[in-house]
């Protein structure tokens, strides 16, 4: 037995008031008369016993006291801790990433999963149901609830476009239920068996996947660049189809949806295609490409890119690798080689090998190597994080021989083995912790694209907030909490603080306003969301216990409320029969 609301104990004041009133009530003035024959003719039964007489005489008082005490008792919300045996908890891990919008048949995978979850709930009457929505921060939509409210939650679910991060959700569920056991259903497109390390846990896993092969043309990459002669845009397509399905790519202005150019693609099964648009005349600040064709997964059929209107001059250290200069010159007309002369630091974008520029100027720089520490030998493979910087070209197959020690507290974007390779400073500087000579990267075709990404992300930071993945949280430079608008002008939400911005879920171009400046941000699907995987549905794990003890706090209100009402009724009856207490 416990109390939920001990603070309500103050209501004891009420019965105390009555007691005090009783103690200080009017005294009877004694008076001897010849006979009380006519005064108490009808109260002869009071002479039965002093106790009963007292009870009868003060009936109203006692009843009122009892009613008030019951009332106070109920305000304390008495409860009983009950240990109940229940059904095995049922846990749904719902993949709400964009790939769930794939439509192998008439409805999307997500809708199919919703139907399947409801079917499961119908046969799971009385079992506690929990629903975990996957994502970088898994959301527990409902925990240990009944199936009726679970159905309501399921009906209200929607796709979040965010990368699913199923491993995080699985770990969460494991930590919640590994002790008592649970039946976990994972609804996704595909999940490797190795993802479920179930040893030592008392849980059974049921993976519901997409077993339908999908015809999917996806826009894997889309970049646009403004040059003097016009806008250049590159679109990379991936065709996960079984048959050749030609189609078209439309380049549009993001805000007005005016079609600027259209190109066709061949759509050969399993192939990749690169389509480029050149000399496009537009003043739009953001572009959109759209894939027109037969497709079972439409979420990756459009992509957005920001066009910077003003470009900073790129200044490259002359000590750096020759291929870097070439790469810089390939992506930008205006490239200066720094031979030591002075530049206006505010208007240039510096690619340098000198750490001293990290503190100079307000604009972030691209630092390659470090000049005041010695490099160490690098071991292991290169791995990259999910940063928009790598959304076009990731340095995955790169060989790194030597690596510099990292800057403490800087964000790590890529690693060699366990050591940081690429870092980002709080100001936004991109730091490659290796000399280009110590890597084979400049020889790789992704290198110019990476340089382009770096230059673009560094220069765009001035007017745009850059590229986000759905629901991604990034630090931004805004003067106060920003209002997020769609490009069409309708208000979406306000960010919680000035420095942090969580991107909207749906891909597209958005406008963030902090009152003084408007900045654009693009939301692009994560590259992992651009292909719909297929996999087998399977079950694994074992559930040994069949009953789960659960301690539950059951409030005990009714057994006290009914006597309270009864006491009140008796009070009225006593009052009706006896009049005021005398």
């Amino acid at each position: 037995m416990g109390f939920a609301n001990l603070t309500n104990l103050w209501t004891l004041v009420f019965p105390l008031t009555v007691v005090i009133y009783y103690l200080f009530r009017k005294r009877f003035e004694p008076k001897t008369i010849s006979s009380t024959l006519f005064w108490d003719e009808d109260r002869r039964e009071e002479n039965v016993s002093p106790f009963i007489r007292n009870l009868q005489r003060n009936a109203l008082f006692y009843l009122q006291l009892l009613a008030l005490l019951l009332f106070v008792w109920m305000l304390l919300v008495p409860s009983i801790k009950q240990t109940q045996t229940e059904g095995i908890p049922l846990v749904f891990i719902v993949d709400s990433s964009a790939t769930m919008l794939a439509t192998p048949k008439d409805s999307t995978l997500f809708e199919m999963n919703q139907v399947e979850m409801k079917n499961l709930l119908e046969s799971a009457e009385g079992r506690p149901v929990s629903i975990v929505i996957s994502g970088k921060e898994p959301e527990i939509a409902i925990q240990n609830s009944d199936s009726r409210s679970a159905v309501q939650v399921i009906e209200g679910l929607s796709v979040q476009y965010e990368q699913n991060h199923l491993d995080t959700s699985i770990e969460l569920v494991k930590s919640m239920y590994s002790e008592h056991g649970a039946e976990v259903h994972i609804f996704t497109d595909a999940l490797e068996r190795t993802a479920l390390a179930y040893e030592g846990t008392n849980m059974s896993w049921h993976v519901h996947t997409n077993d339908q092969k999908l015809n999917n043309h996806s826009i894997v990459r889309f970049g646009a660049n403004r040059r003097e002669e016009g806008v250049v845009a590159i679109v990379k397509l991936q065709h996960d189809t079984e048959k050749t399905q030609p189609g078209a790519i439309q380049l549009k202005e993001a805000d007005s949806e005016k079609v600027l150019a259209e190109e066709t693609f061949k759509g050969e099964p399993g192939s990749e295609e690169l389509i480029s648009f050149k000399k496009i005349e537009t003043n739009a600040s953001a572009l959109q490409v759209e894939l027109v064709g037969t497709d079972d997964y439409s979420a990756d059929n459009s992509s957005h890119a920001l066009l910077a209107t003003e470009r900073a001059k790129v200044v490259v250290d002359d000590t750096l690798h020759e291929l870097l200069k070439k790469a810089a010159q390939a992506i930008q007309e205006e490239v200066a080689i720094d031979n030591g002369e002075d530049f206006d630091e505010e208007s240039i974008l510096r690619i340098t090998g000198s750490e001293s520029f990290l503190d100079k100027g307000k604009r972030p720089i691209f630092l390659i190597g470090r000049d005041n520490v010695k490099p160490l030998e690098a071991n292991g493979e290169v791995s990259v994080t999910n940063d928009p910087l790598f959304s076009i070209a990731a340095p995955k197959d790169m060989y790194v021989a030597e690596i510099y020690p990292p800057f403490a507290d800087y964000e790590v974007l890529a690693r060699v083995g366990k050591d940081p390779l690429i870092q980002r400073s709080p100001r936004g500087d991109i730091i490659l912790l290796a000399d280009l000579e110590a890597t084979d990267w400049p020889l790789q075709p992704t290198f110019p694209l990476f340089v382009w990404s770096v230059v673009k992300s560094l220069s765009d930071d001035a007017e745009t907030l850059g590229v986000f993945t759905p629901l991604q949280r990034k630090s931004v430079v805004m003067s106060e909490a920003a209002d997020i608008y769609e490009l069409s002008g309708s208000y979406l939400y306000t960010t919680e603080s000035a420095n942090t911005l969580q991107a909207p879920a749906i891909p597209g171009i958005y406008k963030a306003t902090d009152g003084t400046t408007d900045k654009l941000l693009a939301v692009q699907l994560d590259s992992s969301e651009k292909s719909v995987a297929t996999g087998d549905s399977y079950s694994t794990g074992k559930l040994t216990t069949t009953d789960v003890k659960k301690e539950q706090t059951v409030p005990v209100i009714w057994p006290f409320l009914l006597p309270l009402l009864l006491v009140l009724l008796i009070e009225w009856e006593v009052q009706r029969r006896r009049g005021y207490p005398y």
Partner: protein, 288 residues
Amino acid sequence: MTSFFPSSLSARLGRLSFVQHGGRLGHHKGSHVSKKTGASLEFSDFKEYHPGDDIRHIDWNVYARTDSYFIKQFLDEQEMRVHIVLDTSKSMNFEDKWKFAQQISIGLGQIALKNSDTVSISRMVSGKKQLFTRKGARQAGSWMTYISRFEQPSETTGVLEGIHTIPKGTTLLFVVTDALEPNEQLNLLFKQLSTRCRDVRVIAIRSKSELAPTYQGDIRFIDSESEKISEVTMMPSMENAYLLQQKKHQLRMMDSAAKYGIGVLMITPQTGPEDVFTIQMRRQGWIR
């Protein structure tokens, strides 16, 4: 002492006499005309002689004229024996009830004494009976003195306990009480009284606040005899309930009195003794 029983009232009482309802009078000769024929000087009737009649009463003049025997009948005058039972329970000692009871007792005794009848009064004092008997008009003074010296009543018993004090041969019995007893007891009392005397008259005295209580506020009433407690918050509804209870009690008392042929007179000190004797008792047909 004159203030206790004014002499003017004594004078008025001298002209009154009791009306006899029961057939039986005392054994002694007295001034009250009996229904039976007797040996008084007043002629009543003639009746034919039958063997066994007293031959001394044969009217010889009538025999001489009619040659048949006629008996000359005379009215019988017999003495009336009046007894008064005075309730000495504590409840009588309330407001001016006791003084009034004394006055009524004195008055009743004087009426009897003026008519040369025997009058006696009995009461319980400290659990013992006290009887006082007087006869003859000359005794009126001592009668008044004796009763006026009665101490305050202090008995906790009812009239029923004193019923054995009633002398035998009582022709007229007065019970002076307040009748503040439960109806069951009163019924028993009336039953016992009716066996003692054929003509019983109960005088019930109720004081002003007994008849219509005028208390205010919250009062703990203590019964003077049983010391029972009754706590009352005075309200019109409570007063009405009291009056209703009193009325019920009175009606039931009247009922049981009528059953045993007992007359009951409800009086109150407010009216004064003169009014009781000259008006109320006359109206009741007790006195003429």
